[in-house]
């Protein structure tokens, strides 16, 4: 099983989240980068799938990101990915989701895979549109909101349990296919110490726009379809009131609280 996992470096949410520069773009120097949380779940799913059928298996990370990305991708390699492909080019700064999807699709054309796994969305951009767009550009079946992934290699198909408002949908598609992954797939592992050491010698190949079969004038900041005009931090939440006591006392206090605010 050959799996490509799409991973985006994002500002570490534990360090207080992202800050934007004057141009509306992310100020990457301000906060350390980590692999997008959902992408770690996608990677975990990929590692479990390949471990179940190790023969000829590999997990390739694909990221379109600024030059500093390899440092961030190391952790994903330490978790067990086989190698990384890093697409980076000054012209890509300020890319919108459309450009990102075009570039990722062009990079995927140069890779061999049975499955592409992506996160359902990112903790910074939160668009949730890139995976579907990549699938559309490549004409791949797109299976979203996966809570379970069951490939059938001999049959050349994959089944996905998709989270739905009422439970699960069961989807099946021929491989290769692109799947967007949820946290229901299971907690990502820690990189083991041996994994960290082994990652030192794993390759991260760099690709520029010129390496891709793509008209460079159709992607990048210059042709962005969206532009960030302003961002606002949500107002700080008011003081939290913790109600302690018996369930009856608690219920009484909560009812009072809601009534005071005319919610009930």
């Amino acid at each position: 099983m050959r799996i490509v996992v799409l991973v985006k470096p994002v500002p570490d949410p534990a360090s207080g989240g992202e800050r934007l520069g004057a141009n509306g773009r992310l100020d990457r120097a301000a906060v350390p980068a980590v692999v997008n949380g959902n992408d770690e779940y996608a990677l975990e799913a990929a590692l479990k799938l390949t471990a179940a059928a190790p023969e000829g298996s590999e997990v390739t990370l694909l990221s379109m990101a600024p030059a500093s990305a390899p440092e961030t991708l190391r952790k994903a390699l330490a978790m067990g990915a086989t190698r990384g492909v890093h697409v980076t080019d000054p012209a890509l700064a300020g890319s919108c989701a459309v450009s990102t999807a075009k570039v990722l699709a062009a990079a995927l054309k140069q890779l061999e895979f049975d499955l592409v796994l992506a996160g359902v969305d990112t903790s910074d951009g939160l668009g949730g549109t890139v995976p579907a767009a990549v699938a559309a550009y490549l004409g791949l079946p797109f299976l979203s909101y996966a809570a379970r992934i069951e490939p059938d290699e001999p049959a050349g198909t994959v089944r996905v349990r998709r989270i739905s408002p009422t439970g699960y949908d069961l989807l099946e598609a021929p491989m290769p296919a692109l799947i967007s992954c949820t946290q229901a797939l299971g907690e990502p592992r820690y990189p083991t110490l041996k994994g960290i050491m082994a990652a030192r010698s794993k390759e991260i190949a760099t690709r520029s726009l010129a390496d891709l079969e793509l008209d460079p004038s159709t992607v990048g900041g210059a042709v962005a379809t969206t532009q960030v005009l302003a961002t606002k931090v949500p107002p700080a939440r008011g003081a939290t009131e913790v109600v302690r006591g018996t369930p009856d006392e608690g219920a009484t206090r909560i009812v009072e609280f809601l009534a005071q605010r005319r919610i009930i």
Binding site: R74, Y190, P191, T192, I196, M197, A199
Partner: protein
């Protein structure tokens, strides 16, 4: 502070931090309260590879620098000193096997310890010999011809042995003849379950209560010559060499305690209001925070410098003593101030702040008391001037 770390070291630090917060923090107060050693946590440390982190790849370790190891210990110490000490002692009982063991001994003894299946302990202290370790009385009697012994019979009592009785593997120091002083001391690898080897009283401790410590009783326990580590009479040197590394490790965990006290106190002072303003607006308290931060920074600096010296292959007697003495004193002072800044809730056993203080105290005593470190440092100073 992390500018000169390699990318592997930074990843190691982040992994240890995440592990400490996710796995160790949740039950730390409860484990301390009930004096409960959670073996499954040690097993998880093994799965992650922490149990083999600073040991060379040639023996199956992960091959991290000792500087990297101090990053791990700082993260663990900041959250759960009991588990940090348990792991540190586990490593302490492996270094001598790496440095002095025959290939056969390494192959037999290390794999289960590296992987975290077997827990190790280091048994030197006795009722009559703590600081004066050369005065130990546990006897090792030769079995078979004196010039080609087939084994040894051990008799005597060890006390304060961390990780006992949980541990499976004991590095035990015994003397062929107390009259020989340090030259009679010899090291042995002893397995739990060896006939004639049993456990005595459990130590009832002030701090690191979730890390067990117990008495070992040797009542004619026989060990084959294949379990003698190094030569006869080399035990004292073996013990001292391992303690140098162990001291840096404990120092780093103490930096963690101090950091935890500082962070908690800083947060508390910004949240707690009194006299109509957050406490942090009191200059007197801000000065305390600044002094605590200075302690943390200084302790971290000497600890990492000692680790770098070890990584460079330099002698570490003085640097490791300075690190352990400085960092454990820093941990004690910062933890004491943290309790003070938290007021009554710092004194409560429910916030985990007084635990920092109890945990710090022990580190001024084990792996050489801080008085003994003064003696070592003075010796090194005098040696350096040819005195």
């Amino acid at each position: 502070m992390s500018g000169d770390l390699t990318s592997e070291e930074r990843l190691l630090q982040a992994t240890a931090r995440e592990f400490a917060i996710r796995e160790l923090a949740p039950g730390a107060i409860e484990r301390d309260e009930s004096e409960r050693y959670d073996r499954s946590l040690f097993t998880k440390m093994g799965e992650l590879g922490l149990t083999a982190a600073p040991l060379p790849e040639s023996v199956g370790g992960a091959g991290f620098s000792y500087l990297g190891w101090t990053l791990v210990m700082e993260e663990l110490g900041a959250v759960d000193m009991a588990m940090a000490v348990s792991l540190s002692v586990h490593l302490l009982s492996q270094y001598p096997v790496v440095a002095w063991g025959t290939p056969e001994q390494q192959a037999r003894w290390l794999p289960a310890m590296l992987s975290g299946e077997a827990l190790g302990a280091f048994a030197l202290t006795e009722p009559h010999a703590g600081s004066d370790a050369a005065a130990i009385r546990t006897r090792a009697e030769r079995l078979g011809p004196a010039d080609a012994p087939e084994g040894y019979r051990l008799s005597g009592t060890k006390i304060w042995i961390s990780n006992a009785p949980e541990a499976e593997r004991y590095l035990v120091f015994a003397t062929l003849d107390p009259a020989l002083g340090s030259k009679g001391i010899t090291a042995f690898l002893v397995e739990k379950g060896t006939p004639g080897f049993r456990f005595g009283a459990h130590e009832r401790k002030m701090g690191i209560r979730a890390c067990p410590a117990a008495e070992l009783v040797f009542d004619g326990a026989e060990v084959p010559v294949a379990n003698r580590l190094g030569g006869e009479g080399e035990g004292y040197r073996i013990a001292l060499s391992a303690l140098g590394e162990g001291r840096i490790s404990i120092a780093a965990a103490c930096v963690g305690i101090a950091r935890a006290g500082l962070d908690a106190a800083a947060r508390y002072l910004t949240e707690r209001h009194a006299f109509g303003a957050p406490l942090v607006e009191q200059q007197g308290l801000r000065f305390m925070l600044a002094e605590m931060a200075r302690e943390v920074a200084a302790a971290r600096a000497v600890t990492r410098e000692a680790a770098r010296a070890k990584d460079r292959g330099e002698p570490i007697a003085e640097a490791s003593s300075i690190a352990k003495w400085t960092a454990s004193d820093a941990a004690m002072r910062v933890a004491t101030d943290a309790v003070q800044l938290f007021g009554g809730s710092g004194y409560s056993r429910e916030t985990g702040i007084e635990r920092l203080m109890r945990d710090a105290k022990g580190a001024q005593i084990y792996e050489g008391t801080n008085q003994i470190h003064r003696l070592i440092v003075a010796d090194e100073v005098l040696r350096s001037i040819g005195g």
